[in-house]
C-alpha cells in the first residue's frame, strides 16, 4: 500500500466514523468516549503516512468520483504531506481530548456534533490533497460549512449566531476570490486541473491578479488584516476543541493554499509580491498582538494571538518570495523552512492553549478573565499543560516557538543586502516589527496565564475541578510535541528539505549543512548556532546545583503565613490586577489604534461603575459602510414588497409584457 492510499483512506475512515456516530444510540458520555478516540486513530495513521510521504516522490491518482467529465484529481507531494502531518498530529490530540470534553460539556446534539467534527477533519485532509480546482473548491466549501455548523453549536445564544453568520459571509467572499484566482490561472483553456495550470504561462499582469486574488481569498480564511474580522468573533463562539482545530489547522490550510498558488501553480514571481506579503504579514502580526493585549475574554485573546502568528507566517512567506525572485534560493529555502516550522509550532501550542481554555470553561463555566484566577491550585494538570503552551507561545527557549522565531530572525539578519537599496532598508524595519510582535506576545501570554491560573479566584463560583483523564491525555499529547519539537528542531528542519528542493529549488543542506542533531545552525556554526538541549541542560544543572547547595549548607525550612497586606488586614481577590488593568499600559501607549469607549465614575459616586469597551477601527472603516449600504439597498428593494398577491401578479404581468416587447 502506497502512502497515498493510506492518506486517502483516512478521510474515508473519518467519514465512516462520523456516519456511524450519527447512527449510534449510545448515551452521551459513552458516545463521546467511543467515537472521538476512534477518530484519533485516523489522525495517527495520517501523521505516520504523511511523514513517510514528505521524502517520497509526488504520487497522484484520479478518483472516479465527482461529475461525469470532471473526475477528482488527487496528488500527494512534499508540501501536502507536511500539512497533512500537521493535521494528523494536532487532530489526534484534539480527538482524544474531545472524548472527555464532549462527553460532559459543550452543548449540542452529540451525534450531529460527531458527524460535523469528522466531516470537518476529512474536508481539511481533502483540501490538502486536491489536485484540481473542482475538488479543491468542493473540499474548501465543505470545510467552511462543517466549521460553520461547529461554530454555531450553541445556537440558542444570539451572539453565537451572529458570529457564525459573519464567519460564513467572510468565508464565502474569500471563496469567491479563490474561485476567481483559479479562473485566472486556467487561462481560458477550461481545464481546471492543477497540472494544466502549472503548464500555463501567464502574463505578468494576470499573474499578479492571480496572486492578489489568492492573497485576499486565502487571507480571508487565514485572518490577514483587514479580513481578520471574523476570527475574534467565531473562535470564542465555537466549542474549545473546535476553536483549537480552526486556529491550529484550518488557518494553516489557507497558508497551504497561498503557498501552493504562489510557489507551484504560478510559474513566475515578482519581487513586489514579496514586499506586499511581508508588509501585510507584519502589520497583521503587530495589530494582532496589540489587540490581544487588551482583551478580557480568554478565547478572544487567543484568537487575536492567532492573527499575530498568522501574520508572522505570512511575513516569512513574503520573505521567501522576495529571496526567490532575486535568485537567493539558499536563503529562500531557509525562510520557507522557518515559515513552515512556525506553522507547525503554532498549530501545536495554540491548539494546546485552546484546549486549556476548554478545560477551564468546562470546570468553571466562565470564559471572562475577570472571573477566573488561582486555578493552578485546583487544576494542577491543566495548569502545567497551560504553562508549557504559555512558554512556547511566548517564544521562549528551549520550547518550539522560539526555534522557529530564531530561524526567522536568522533569515532577516544574515541576508546579504538585497540588490535594491530600498528593499535593504526594509530589512531593519521589518526586523523591528517582528521583534516588537514577539516581545508583546510575551506580555499578552503572561496576562493570560497569570490571570487565569495564578492569584486568587476572582469569583467564588469560578473554582473548578481538574480535567478528566481523556482531556489530560489530549493536553499531554500536544504539550509533549511542543517540548520535543523545541528540543530537537534539527529533525523537523531536515525533514523539510524535500519541500525546499521542490518549491524554491534549493536544498536546506546548503544553509544547514553543519547542523548536527544537537545544534541548529544557520550557514556555519561560527555564524549562528543554537542548541535547545544544551540550553535546557544548563538551566536544569544550575537549578539542581543551586538547590542542593542551598539545602546542604543551609536548610529548607518553610513557614506559612498571610501575604503582606501593608497592615490593611483585609486583602481580597478584588485587589488583584484585573485583565483590563493588566492591558492598560498597552491601551494607553497605543491608544490611537483602538476605538475606545469608556466611562469613568466621579470620585464621589457611592456605587461607582467603570466601563470600557475596545473595538476595532477597521470594522467601522471598512465593514460598517458596506453593511449600511447593503441595508439601504435591501430597503429600496423592500419598497416593491407589499405582501399582496395581486400586486405580485401585476409585476409578473408587466415583466412579461416588457419581455415580449423586447424580444420583438
Amino acid at each position: 500500500m502506497s502512502s497515498l492510499d493510506a492518506v486517502l483512506a483516512v478521510p474515508l475512515y473519518w467519514m465512516a466514523v462520523g456516519l456511524s456516530g450519527l447512527a449510534s444510540a449510545a448515551s452521551r458520555g459513552r458516545h463521546a468516549r467511543l467515537f472521538f478516540p476512534l477518530g484519533a486513530l485516523g489522525g495517527v495513521v495520517l501523521a505516520v503516512a504523511a511523514y513517510v510521504a514528505i521524502s517520497a516522490s509526488p504520487q497522484s491518482v484520479i478518483l472516479p468520483l465527482g461529475l461525469p467529465d470532471l473526475p477528482f484529481h488527487v496528488r500527494l507531494d512534499a508540501l501536502s504531506a507536511f500539512f497533512l502531518l500537521l493535521l494528523g498530529v494536532v487532530s489526534t490530540g484534539v480527538s482524544v481530548y474531545c472524548g472527555g470534553y464532549f462527553g460532559s460539556a459543550g452543548g449540542g446534539e452529540i451525534r450531529l456534533l460527531c458527524l460535523q467534527y469528522h466531516v470537518f477533519l476529512a474536508s481539511m485532509a481533502l483540501v490538502l490533497l486536491a489536485d484540481d480546482a473542482y475538488l479543491f473548491m468542493v473540499a474548501w466549501e465543505t470545510m467552511a460549512l462543517a466549521s460553520y455548523f461547529l461554530v454555531v453549536t450553541d445556537d440558542e445564544v444570539e451572539s453565537v449566531r451572529r458570529a457564525g453568520l459573519l464567519y460564513l459571509i467572510v468565508a464565502h467572499v474569500g471563496a469567491i476570490a479563490i474561485l476567481l484566482c483559479f479562473g485566472t490561472l486556467q487561462l481560458g483553456q477550461w481545464n481546471y486541473t492543477f497540472d494544466a495550470m502549472r503548464s500555463n504561462t501567464l502574463s505578468v499582469g494576470w499573474a499578479s491578479v492571480a496572486f492578489l486574488l489568492a492573497l485576499f481569498g486565502f487571507g480571508a480564511k487565514a485572518g490577514f488584516v483587514p479580513v481578520h474580522i471574523w476570527l475574534p468573533e467565531a473562535h470564542p463562539a465555537a466549542p474549545s476543541p473546535v476553536s483549537g482545530l480552526m486556529s491550529g489547522v484550518m488557518l494553516k490550510t489557507a497558508i497551504y493554499g497561498l503557498l501552493r498558488v504562489s510557489f507551484d501553480l504560478l510559474h513566475i514571481q515578482l519581487w513586489w509580491w514579496g514586499v506586499v506579503a511581508l508588509s501585510v504579514g507584519l502589520i497583521t502580526a503587530v495589530f494582532g498582538v496589540l489587540f490581544a493585549a487588551v482583551q478580557t475574554d480568554m478565547k478572544r485573546l487567543l484568537a487575536y494571538s492567532s492573527i499575530e502568528n498568522i501574520g508572522i507566517v505570512l511575513a516569512g512567506s513574503g520573505l521567501t518570495i522576495l529571496f526567490h525572485t532575486y535568485d537567493m534560493d539558499v536563503l529562500a529555502a531557509l525562510a520557507l523552512a522557518a515559515t513552515l516550522f512556525h506553522c507547525l509550532n503554532h498549530a501545536l501550542f495554540k491548539t494546546l492553549l485552546f484546549l486549556v481554555t476548554g478545560s477551564v470553561m468546562h470546570a468553571t463555566s466562565h470564559r471572562s478573565l475577570g472571573k477566573l484566577g488561582g486555578l493552578i491550585r485546583r487544576m494542577p494538570w491543566v495548569a502545567a499543560a497551560g504553562l508549557i503552551g504559555t512558554l512556547a507561545i511566548a517564544g521562549l527557549p528551549p520550547l518550539n516557538g522560539f526555534a522557529s522565531e530564531w530561524m526567522l530572525f536568522q533569515v532577516f539578519l544574515l541576508s546579504p543586502s538585497l540588490p535594491n537599496s530600498y528593499l535593504s532598508m526594509l530589512v531593519p524595519v521589518a526586523t523591528a516589527a517582528l521583534a516588537l510582535a514577539v516581545a508583546v506576545a510575551g506580555y499578552v501570554i503572561v496576562k493570560f496565564y497569570g490571570v487565569v491560573f495564578l492569584g486568587m479566584p476572582r469569583e467564588e463560583s469560578a473554582q473548578g475541578h481538574d480535567a478528566g483523564s481523556w482531556e489530560r491525555a489530549g493536553l499531554l499529547w500536544l504539550a509533549i510535541w511542543c517540548i520535543l519539537l523545541g528540543l530537537l528542531p534539527v529533525f523537523v528542519v531536515s525533514a523539510m528539505d524535500p519541500i525546499a528542493r521542490a518549491f524554491v529549488g534549493a536544498t536546506l543542506n546548503d544553509s544547514m549543512q553543519e547542523s548536527s542533531w544537537l545544534f541548529l545552525t544557520a550557514f556555519r556554526p561560527e555564524r549562528a548556532s543554537y542548541s535547545a538541549l544544551l540550553f535546557l541542560l544548563g538551566i536544569v544543572l544550575t537549578v539542581l546545583v543551586s538547590y542542593l547547595l542551598v539545602r546542604r549548607f543551609y536548610h529548607g525550612r518553610v513557614r506559612r503565613s498571610a501575604p503582606w497586606d501593608c497592615g490593611y488586614g483585609r486583602l481580597d481577590a478584588r485587589m488583584q490586577d484585573s485583565a483590563e488593568g493588566f492591558g492598560q499600559p498597552i491601551k494607553q501607549i497605543f491608544e490611537p489604534l483602538f476605538k475606545l469607549e469608556r466611562s469613568q465614575p466621579s470620585p464621589f459616586d457611592a456605587r461607582p461603575v467603570y466601563r470600557s469597551k475596545i473595538e476595532d477601527r477597521i470594522w467601522y472603516w471598512a465593514y460598517a459602510p458596506v453593511i449600511k449600504a447593503a441595508d439601504h439597498l435591501s430597503a429600496l428593494v423592500g419598497v416593491l414588497h407589499h405582501g399582496r398577491v395581486h400586486l405580485y401578479l401585476i409585476y409578473s404581468f408587466a415583466t412579461l409584457l416588457a419581455l415580449l416587447l423586447l424580444i420583438q
Binding site: G395, L396, G442, A528, Y530, S546, Q576
Partner: protein
C-alpha cells in the same frame, strides 16, 4: 572538546557568579559617595545574601509550586546567561548553545518566570509589579534585539564569541552604527536592570517600584537567590556591553597566557563602567511610568538607526 575548554568555561562562570554581588556593591558605594554618604561598603550585598540564606522562608498560605520554583529558575537562567557571554576569553564550549537571540530569549524566560511568580499569591503589589515589568520589557526587548543586530550585521554572525573576535581585531575607528547601538544599549541597561531613571532599586514606594514590587512576597533563601540573580543580570549586561563595544583585552581562543591580563582588563573596565553607571544614576531623576515608553522608544529608534546606518554606509558604517 578538550578539558581545558571546560576549565576555562567553569572558571569564567564561577568568577562572574562570585563577582556579581561585589559589582552591585561597588555601584551602590559610588552612589553613596556621590550623595555625600559614607556607604555600606562594597561587600554589603554578600552580607545581605548570606543573612537571607540563614533565615526561615515565609510563604503566603496560597503560594503554589511555581512561586517556590521561580527563584531557582531565574537564578539558573542568569548563570546560563553569564556563561554564554565571553568575559575573559572567547573559547567558551557553552557559547554555541546560544547566540544573542537566544540570550535575549533567556532574559525573557527569567522575566516571565519572575512575573508569573509575582502574580501567584494574588496581592495588588505583585501583579502591579508584574504588569509594569512586562510592559517595560515588551518595549525594551525588541530594542535589545535591534542593538544586537548591528554588531551581528558587522560580523555576519549572531554568535557572541564570533562577534567579539571580529570586533576586537578591527582597526581603531569609530563605526557610526556601533555608536548608535552603544547609546541605545546603555539606555536599555538602565531599563532592564531596574535602575534610575526607569525604576529605583532603593525605594519601596508603590507609585514607582517595578522590580521590588515583584519580589515583595519573597523572603529568605528565595529572596537571596533573586537578589543574586539580579546582581548577575547587571553583571551580564555590563559584560555584554564590554564585549560588544569595548572588546579589547578579551583573550582569543587558546591564549592562556593572556588570561591574567584579561582579568585585569575586565576588572578595570567593570570598575570604571560601574562608576559611570553610578554617576549616570546620580544625575538623572526617576521618570513617571508613562514617560518610560518615550525613553525606550528612543532607544529602539536609535538601535534601528544603527542598523540602517550599517546597511546604507556598508562597511564604512
Amino acid at each position: 572538546m578538550n578539558p581545558e575548554f571546560f576549565a576555562s568555561q567553569l572558571f569564567q562562570t564561577l568568577l562572574a557568579v562570585l563577582l556579581a554581588p561585589v559589582m552591585l556593591g561597588w555601584v551602590n558605594q559610588c552612589r553613596a559617595w556621590l550623595q555625600n554618604k559614607t556607604g555600606p561598603g562594597v561587600l554589603q550585598p554578600y552580607r545581605v545574601i548570606l543573612k537571607l540564606f540563614r533565615k526561615d522562608a515565609v510563604l503566603a498560605h496560597n503560594a503554589s509550586w511555581l512561586f517556590r520554583f521561580a527563584p531557582y529558575a531565574v537564578f539558573g537562567c542568569m548563570v546560563l546567561a553569564v556563561s554564554i557571554v565571553p568575559i575573559l576569553a572567547t573559547d567558551l564550549p557553552f557559547s554555541p548553545a546560544a547566540d544573542v537571540i537566544a540570550l535575549v530569549g533567556l532574559f525573557a524566560l527569567a522575566r516571565v518566570f519572575m512575573a508569573l511568580a509575582a502574580m501567584d499569591v494574588g496581592t495588588a503589589f505583585g501583579s502591579l509589579g508584574a504588569r509594569r515589568e512586562m510592559f517595560v520589557a515588551s518595549l525594551a526587548e525588541p530594542a535589545l534585539l535591534m542593538v544586537f543586530f548591528t554588531p551581528a550585521l558587522i560580523s555576519q554572525s549572531t554568535a557572541l564569541t564570533t562577534i567579539v573576535e571580529t570586533l576586537a581585531h578591527r582597526e581603531l575607528t569609530i563605526y557610526p552604527s556601533l555608536a548608535f547601538a552603544a547609546v541605545a544599549f546603555v539606555m536599555l541597561l538602565l531599563a532592564e536592570n531596574a535602575r534610575i531613571p526607569v525604576d529605583n532599586p532603593a525605594t519601596h514606594l508603590e507609585l514607582t517600584m517595578i522590580h521590588e514590587a515583584m519580589i515583595l512576597e519573597y523572603s529568605a533563601r528565595h529572596l537571596a537567590l533573586l537578589e543574586w540573580a539580579h546582581a548577575l543580570k547587571l553583571m551580564t549586561y555590563a559584560s555584554i556591553g564590554i564585549a560588544l563595544f569595548l572588546p579589547w583585552g578579551i583573550a582569543s581562543a587558546g591564549q592562556w597566557a593572556m588570561m591574567p591580563l584579561s582579568i585585569l582588563a575586565l576588572l578595570l573596565k567593570l570598575l570604571l563602567g560601574s562608576a559611570a553607571l553610578a554617576v549616570l544614576e546620580a544625575v538623572s531623576a526617576k521618570m513617571r511610568i508613562f514617560r518610560v515608553p518615550e525613553f525606550l522608544g528612543m532607544a529602539f529608534l536609535l538601535a534601528v538607526l544603527g542598523m540602517l546606518t550599517r546597511l546604507l554606509l556598508g562597511s564604512a558604517g
